[in-house]
């Protein structure tokens, strides 16, 4: 049998079919692009017009306007930090950093202002809430990005977003009047405590974590999903082994932002925590946090007590800064690794 093509794809010389031409044409035929296309059109050269003064002023004005917007935000942070620092810093000198940070007794009437219990309580409330809320929120994000049909997604997403819009006092009321009695009945106590705070805070962090995690999952290129399915992976395997790892930096960011939301939450926690300034002996016992102590005691505090409350505010500020810093660090590490 005569094969007009060898493996290299060259045609045999005797072939006269025009189609075969394609196979042995190595370079484009000469003279395809003539020089005519490169000759500029005839006529007097046109001058480039100069920028008008009005345009210049408008551009410069807009630039400064945006700069101003950015400056207001930065100035706000700076002013609050200076104010809180100015009012709270003296407590470190008065009591000593060790006594303030390391003291476990918060008893304003006795003059002891140790915030360690409050820090522990705030962290307990936050971590417990995240332990419940983060899986819930990440599950919601996966559902929205990769599981739900478009129609279901359009129903669920606004519902999740609405959670973010509910005022925290409403969450508090729900916790106080709906959740607390149930907890009280099952635990035999009053129902105030970490258990109630965890549940309320868990719901409150869902919209933050879900929205940012969903963005992270959606930003994973579809080609990667296709590649996984084409490898014979199921949807579950694709989500678990490829999508979640690929989106991990964004999801960790989301969880840290959720932490910020939980540790800063005041009103809802105040209403279900029971507010006793000790590390609670169990999850059904009352506790006081860094935020709630400020709200509860600032109205009547004076002297060292007032300064100590500003010191608590400094602690909250530092914890938030640590969260933001860790987000930056994680995304930088994440970028370097992939």
């Amino acid at each position: 049998m005569t094969d007009p093509l060898d493996r290299g794809g060259r045609a045999t010389p005797g072939d006269r079919r025009p189609a075969a031409d394609l196979l042995h044409r190595e370079a484009p035929a000469p003279g395809v692009s003539g020089p005519s296309a490169l000759v500029p059109p005839a006529g007097p050269p046109t001058r480039l017009s100069t920028i008008s003064r009005a345009t210049y002023l408008k551009e410069a004005g807009l630039k400064n306007l945006f700069l101003l917007c950015a400056c207001v935000a930065v100035a706000g942070v700076l002013l609050i930090f200076l104010f809180v620092g100015y009012r709270g810093f003296p407590i470190f000198g008065k009591l000593g950093i060790a006594a303030f940070l390391g003291g476990r007794t918060w008893s304003p009437s006795a003059g002891s202002f140790g915030v360690l219990s409050l820090i522990i309580n705030s962290l307990l409330a936050t971590l417990g809430a995240l332990a419940i809320g983060a899986p819930l929120a990440i599950g919601t994000a996966v559902f929205l990005s990769d599981v739900a049909s478009p129609r279901v997604r359009e129903l669920v997403r606004p519902a999740v977003e609405l959670l973010a819009g509910i005022p925290s006092v409403v969450y508090g009321l729900f916790g106080l009047l709906a959740l607390r009695p149930i907890i009280a009945k099952t635990s035999g106590g009053l129902g105030f405590g970490l258990a109630a705070a965890w549940m309320i805070l868990a719901i409150m962090v869902v919209p933050t974590i879900a929205a940012i995690s969903e963005d992270a999952l959606r930003s994973v290129p579809d080609g990667i999903r296709e590649a996984s399915y084409a490898m014979g992976a199921t949807k579950w395997q694709t989500i678990w082994r490829v999508l979640l790892p690929a989106a991990r930096v964004g999801i960790i960011d989301a969880v840290i932002l959720g932490m910020g939301r939980a540790i800063g939450e005041t009103m809802a926690v105040l209403m279900v925590a029971g507010n006793a300034a000790v590390v609670p002996a169990g999850i059904f016992k009352p506790f006081l946090t860094l935020t709630t102590v400020i709200v509860l005691e600032m109205p009547y505090a004076s002297g060292d007590h007032r300064t100590a409350l500003f010191g608590v505010a400094i602690m909250l500020f530092l914890i938030s800064m640590a969260f933001v810093a860790s987000i930056r660090l994680i995304s930088r590490l994440g970028r370097e690794r992939s």
């Binding site: 794809g9 394609l22 196979l23 080609g223 296709e226 996984s228 399915y229 490898m231 014979g232």
Partner: protein
């Protein structure tokens, strides 16, 4: 079309017609919702050979390719009618698991799409999915797959590095290694060379020639020179009017199709009169 098929099957070289076709597609229609994208496709994909699908953009060649491993299932509202037999078994038959099908029929995409994980983990992904756990066994599979994809020499010292740090051409070979690690019977390649540099194209074309002894390869390409260089068989697809279903115009040995096409439209296309 059926006469044409019968005709050239007699002209197939010994290694081709001794065995039944790997894929035997009969009267396949494919729909995106109400729109019929493919009409009445009947073709046999030869075992241990490279088959190229050519045709102008939007002519349904990629759609058809994705029918072979049911990747189209992932598009909501799409469905196929007709039969696609893989070794005599209908891949669209009741109860057929598309996940298992895709393990047997691997796919390479136009855009190299390594996972954002290490080179090693990219290649070990498939074997791990299918239950390989032992480190020593995984190591062996990874080395072998990278070796078959002609990438082992370049990456053997940087296996823990991220797959996305490689060049485009290396990434595409990493994707090929990733597929080879699960020992597929068929490799579908959807314009695998159109997003990478010429040197890498050369490497991938060489690779296809090496792989076809053991694997049936189907490649969609816009580049007719490439089809002529790498394939043993060529199928020409065409959507004649916008909104009409794409059809298979001609299927033949590459040598025959490029030198003496039977259909006027094929000749017009490969001589560059349109498309």
């Amino acid at each position: 079309m059926s006469e044409t098929l019968a005709e050239h099957q007699t002209g197939v070289p010994p290694h081709g017609h001794a065995e039944p076709d790997k894929f035997d597609v009969r009267k396949l229609d494919f729909f995106y919702g109400d729109f019929q994208a493919l009409g009445d496709i009947t073709v046999g994909i030869k075992r241990h050979a490279v088959t190229a699908f050519i045709g102008p953009s939007g002519c349904g060649k990629s759609t058809f390719l994705r029918c072979l491993n049911r990747m189209n299932d992932l598009i909501p509202g799409s469905h196929a009618e007709g039969t696609v037999l893989l070794d005599g078994e209908d891949v669209y038959g009741p109860g057929v698991d598309p996940v298992d099908l895709r393990r047997r029929v691997g796919m390479i995409f136009q855009q190299p799409n390594p996972f954002p994980m290490s080179i090693y983990d990219n290649v070990a992904y498939g074997p791990k999915l299918h239950g390989v756990r032992r480190k020593a066994e995984l190591d062996e599979i990874v080395e072998k797959a990278l070796g078959r994809a002609n990438l082992w020499k370049e990456v053997k010292d940087i296996l823990p590095r991220g797959g996305l740090t490689l060049s485009g051409g290396q990434q595409q070979r990493l994707c090929i290694a990733r597929v080879l690690a699960v020992e597929p019977e068929v490799l579908l390649m959807d314009e695998p060379c159109s997003a990478i540099d010429p040197t890498s194209v050369q490497k991938i074309e060489d690779l296809m020639a090496e792989l076809k002894d053991r694997i049936t390869i189907v490649i969609v390409t816009h580049n007719m020179q490439q089809a002529a260089r790498v394939s043993d068989f060529t199928a020409f697809f065409l959507q004649e009017k916008l909104g009409e279903a794409a059809k298979l115009v001609e299927f033949d040995r590459t040598a025959v199709l490029f030198t003496s096409p039977k259909d006027r439209r094929t000749e017009d296309y490969i001589t560059g009169r349109f498309g």
